[in-house]
């Protein structure tokens, strides 16, 4: 219901009549006409004030003003596009970068895993102080499950490779053998079909398989009738019983395609000392991680005692599953988050000082508005409106930056690795990230408006009406602006130092001695079908492969191994030595099975003895080559050649005579120390799956297709996968990738910070020179040399730079200590990096202040004095 408003004109009329009536009354009382009118006015008070109050009645005065302020701010931006675009761009960069990084942090560290009540899920395994997590043996798993009271359920999973029969032949696929209630324990239900039945995981149970969503989609065209059909895995028929939901991922299993119940065990797997199954359990309500750990440790000890296993110090490990999944990336993500925050800080500070300079040049405008009756609150409101408009645009642009950056970063992660990081799926603009973006933009708005507003609140505005004043306010600004520049320089220092350290770490890591030559080395994985029966047939395949590939033009030599280098310090073998007392010590060493030609193909350096020969086959006693680390650790004052290593080969005690010592080859990840390693002849324990290392004369990548073609000629049913060059393989390892990721991103942030910091310094110095033009003119008129003017300006800049760099140096040592876990081969206080960064910033700052200094020195005294 809208009533016609009474017009302001009508109200004014009423006031006029009031004044007339009052004047009449005063006339009656005997005043002169003039006096009466004056008195009436005086008595009434301020007429405009009354009219304004009438106008504002029922109106949200604030909103009204605000709309006007916004409009004004918009006009200001249009009038000054350079300023507006710069400010919006800088802020958008800061906001966008921090939001994008946060999206990763959110997805990886804050969002729960896609299971029911994921925080109650634990990784339950054996463990000891020396190896934190160690898989379970199958008999242990059965007993742990039976004896414990801490978990509602314990299940195990174990990685398996199969050959999937497809129309074009056999293809290696990744599968996971799991105990029957595995999905139930995670709280995951198939979207199609059913879960395993209770009796399907007993030994001799039916061959059934559950598909991952991706497998269903890509291999079976998402056909709903897939349930009930059979697939052929390594020549066995498996009935598909279900399909897992799209959201389901189980990071430790990577890109597993098929999930099958454990319904048969190899001879090894029935052994209590064959550790091949990873456990996952759901904590009972009210049980803490600590309580569960204590109980499981007690059970482990009891079993070791009962079965006479020399598991000295071996206990249990109970850690949250989420820890296992995101543990590796947490420090890197937190570092990136820190870097992004610093970038945001420097961007905000930069824009704040931009706004400050602008408000300085609008001093007179503000003073006039103040003199015309604008209250301080109204003037501040104007700044708030401008700040909000600025950050509003910046936030919108930041949204675009964040979206682009997220896509870019997600694409930088290779597919193989992404499958181990299921949380990457959750990266994007969602409620969390949007809230963060708005919050960040809000805080930025606060900073950007608070700076000029604070200044406004703290000074006498009338002073500014005076033209060309060089009073208190200018000095105050100079100090505030200078402080901001110091902050910027310090932050830039911290980021640059961080980037330098991470970059060096990456370089050192990639240049770690490998113990072999990675150039001209092609690698691929082969998996032979079960038609090769018995050790003789497989050994025959090895020989055939080696011969056929070696005879290819361009191939120098061929080697085979159960696992390629720079992958993993695994599998672990526990050994003891013939002729020495053994009390179950943890003599854990890395074990590799290699063909006779393998070590020479890698160009590994033989230190003593010999490599394997074709004659070291199944008919001969076990032979072993050890690396120097093993020799140093276990034969410190003894020639290892001729000594014998004893171990347990799946329940069968075995003896291996050491025939050679090889220089350390990096079998594990780049950022992990080289472990004692033993090499056994592949022919003495042949396996259907093996990896090829082929030394080529030309570029290794160009040979891959020829190698595959030849393998297919040998047998079209061979499963071939992971073809790559050794260099690509190394670059693609998690350690290299994560460090590269961190180094590149922090470097990017640091470069932006450098530019912003230097631009900020330039702004302050240039402004100061501008303000001091007249002073400089006077100095020159009184005989100051140009060089002394240079000195004047550069001294100021030098002082700011020195203070900024000193603070930055202290802060960066402190922050580098925080990221020391990510550093590899460099100290957080690495002098080279710190001096380099200091020099870089000093030179950049000098350059930035040289321009204004030159302007100052070229001031014409007469012009300067005449100006204003």
């Amino acid at each position: 219901m809208w009533k016609r408003r009474r017009s302001a004109e009508d109200f004014a009329e009423e006031i006029r009549s009031h004044l007339a009536l009052e004047a009449d009354r005063l006339l009656e009382e005997g005043a002169s006409e003039e006096e009466a009118q004056r008195m009436a006015r005086v008595q009434f008070g301020s007429v405009p004030a009354a009219r304004e109050r009438f106008y504002l009645r029922n109106r949200l005065e604030w909103l009204d003003n605000f709309a006007r302020d916004l409009k004004f701010a918009g006009r200001q931006m249009v009038k000054n596009p350079g300023y507006a675009v710069t400010a919006v761009f800088v802020l958008a960069l800061g906001i966008g970068a921090s939001t994008a990084i946060f999206a990763f942090v959110d997805a990886a560290l804050l969002k729960p895993l896609p299971y029911k009540n994921p925080y109650r899920l634990m990784s339950v395994n054996e463990g000891s102080p020396s190896s934190a997590r160690w898989p379970l043996s199958y008999p242990d798993f059965i007993d742990w499950r039976r004896l414990n009271h801490s978990f509602t359920a314990i299940d195990v999973y174990s990685s398996k490779g199969y050959l999937l029969r497809t129309r074009s032949g056999q293809e290696p696929v990744r599968a996971q053998e799991v105990s029957g209630s595995f999905f139930q324990t995670l709280g995951v239900q198939p979207i199609l079909g059913r879960d395993f039945l209770p009796d399907e995981d007993r030994l001799g149970g039916p061959n059934v398989a559950v598909l991952s969503y991706g497998t269903w989609l890509h291999r079976f065209g998402a056909r709903r009738d897939i349930v009930g059909q059979t697939v052929e895995l390594s020549d066995n028929a498996y009935t598909v019983i279900g399909v897992l939901p799209r959201s389901f991922v189980f990071a430790p299993a990577g890109n597993t395609e098929f999930w099958v119940p454990i319904n048969s065990l190899t001879k090894h797997e029935t052994s209590r000392t064959f550790y091949n199954f990873w456990g996952v359990g759901r904590l009972r309500d009210g049980v803490t991680v600590q309580m569960a750990l204590e109980e499981m440790t007690a059970i482990a000890k009891q079993l070791h005692q009962e079965y006479g296993i020399d598991g000295l110090g071996m206990g249990a490990s109970v850690v949250p599953l989420s820890e296992v999944i995101v543990g590796d990336v947490r420090p890197i993500l937190l570092t990136l988050m820190g870097a992004a925050t610093l970038l945001l800080l420097i961007a905000s500070v930069n824009v704040a000082s931009l706004v400050l300079v602008r408000s300085e040049s609008r001093r007179r405008e503000l003073a006039v508005r103040g003199a015309l009756g604008a209250t301080r609150a109204r003037l501040i409101q104007q700044f708030v409106a401008e700040g909000l408009l600025l950050t509003g645009f910046a936030g919108a642009a930041g949204l675009l930056v964040a979206g682009g950056l997220m896509r870019l970063l997600a694409r930088l992660v290779p597919k193989d690795m992404a499958s181990n990081m299921p949380f990457l799926e959750g990266v994007g603009l969602n409620a969390h990230t949007t809230i963060l973006l708005v919050a960040v933009a809000g805080m930025t708005a606060l900073l950007v408006t608070a700076t000029p507003a604070l200044r406004l609140a703290s000074r006498d505005m009338r002073e500014n009406l005076k033209d060309g004043d060089r009073g208190f306010s200018s000095r105050l600004w100079a100090r505030l602006g200078a402080n901001l520049v110091i902050v910027e320089l310090a932050v830039a220092f911290v980021l640059l130092a961080g980037a330098g350290l991470l970059g060096q770490s990456l370089y050192r890591m990639l240049h770690e001695p490998l113990g072999f030559e990675p150039d001209h080395l092609a690698t691929l994985s082969v998996s032979a079908p079960d038609t090769y029966k018995g050790e003789q047939q497989i050994a025959g395949l090895y020989r055939e492969v080696a011969e056929r590939l070696s005879s290819l033009p361009g191939v120098q030599s061929v080697g085979m191994t159960n696992m390629l280098p720079v992958q993993c310090n695994c599998p672990i073998d526990r050994i003891h030595f013939a002729g020495r007392p053994y009390h179950g010590e943890h003599n854990d060493v890395v074990e590799r099975r290699v063909s006779p030609g393998y070590l020479s193909t890698l160009n590994a350096a033989l230190m003593r003895g010999r490599y394997f020969q074709d004659s070291d086959d199944i008919s001969r006693p076990g032979a072993a080559v050890i690396n120097e680390a093993l020799a140093r650790k276990y034969f410190p004052a003894q020639d290892p050649i001729g000594q014998r290593i004893e171990n347990d080969e799946g329940g069968r005690p075995s003896v291996w005579e050491i025939v050679g010592v090889v220089r350390d080859i990096r079998e594990g990840p780049l950022d992990v120390e080289i472990a004692p390693t033993e090499y056994f002849p592949l022919q003495q324990a042949p396996d259907h799956s093996f990896n090829l290392a082929v030394r080529t004369r030309q570029d290794a990548g160009s040979m891959l297709s020829d190698l595959i073609k030849t393998l297919r000629q040998i047998n079209p049913d061979l499963g071939i996968s992971d073809e790559a060059t050794m260099n690509d393989e190394i670059d693609g390892t998690q350690a290299a990738l994560l460090h590269r990721f961190a180094a590149w991103l922090v470097s990017g942030f640091a470069m932006i910070a450098l530019v912003l910091g230097v631009v900020g310094l330039y702004g302050v110095i240039a402004y100061s020179v501008n303000q001091r033009t007249r002073e400089i003119g006077v100095r020159m008129a009184l005989g100051a040399q140009r060089s002394s003017i240079y000195g004047l300006v550069l001294r100021q800049a030098g002082f700011l730079t020195a203070v900024g760099l000193t603070i930055g140096l202290i802060c960066s040592v402190a922050t580098s200590m925080l990221i020391r876990n990510l550093l590899f081969g460099v100290y957080p206080w690495d002098t080279l990096t710190l001096t380099g960064v200091a020099a870089l910033l000093a030179v950049a700052s000098l350059a930035a202040s040289f321009l204004p200094a030159r302007r100052a020195a070229s001031v014409n005294p007469t012009d300067a004095l005449r100006a204003e």
């Binding site: 009382e29 005997g30 009354a50 009645r57």
Partner: protein
């Protein structure tokens, strides 16, 4: 000087009491703004000082609430003036507000004047 300047003897009106005074004044008959202001000042023996800006704002508010109505007319000395009249709703409000005021005044009196002590000596 025919009219006294505002001086220390005058006190500003209590918040919210201006409405009551206007309604009370209008009970005697329609009146214009200047008349209302004069009347309040006179009846309070020149103690209350009416801020004219507030008065007109108050009048406007009462009019918006339909407690009073207004129309332009001609004053005794032939001036155009806006005359305000009390409505039935306004009368009810006057009764309610008067009761409210009496309660308040009594309570104030109880506290300020009800407990004779050393302070009660003051003039």
């Amino acid at each position: 000087m025919p009219t006294k300047e505002p001086n220390a003897d005058r006190i500003a009106l209590l918040q919210g009491t201006l409405d009551l005074l206007i309604l009370k004044t209008l009970l005697l008959g329609p009146c214009h703004g200047q008349g209302i202001a004069r009347s309040i000042q006179r009846q309070s023996e020149e103690v209350f000082f009416v801020d004219h800006g507030s008065l007109y704002l108050s009048l406007q508010r009462l009019e918006d609430r339909k407690w009073i109505t207004a129309k332009w007319g001609v004053s005794q000395n032939n001036r155009k003036a806006r005359f305000y009249t009390l409505t039935a709703k306004g009368r009810d409000q006057l009764t309610a507000k008067t009761t409210e005021w009496r309660k308040l005044a009594r309570a104030m009196e109880l506290i300020v004047g009800g407990h004779p002590g050393p302070d009660s000596q003051e003039a």
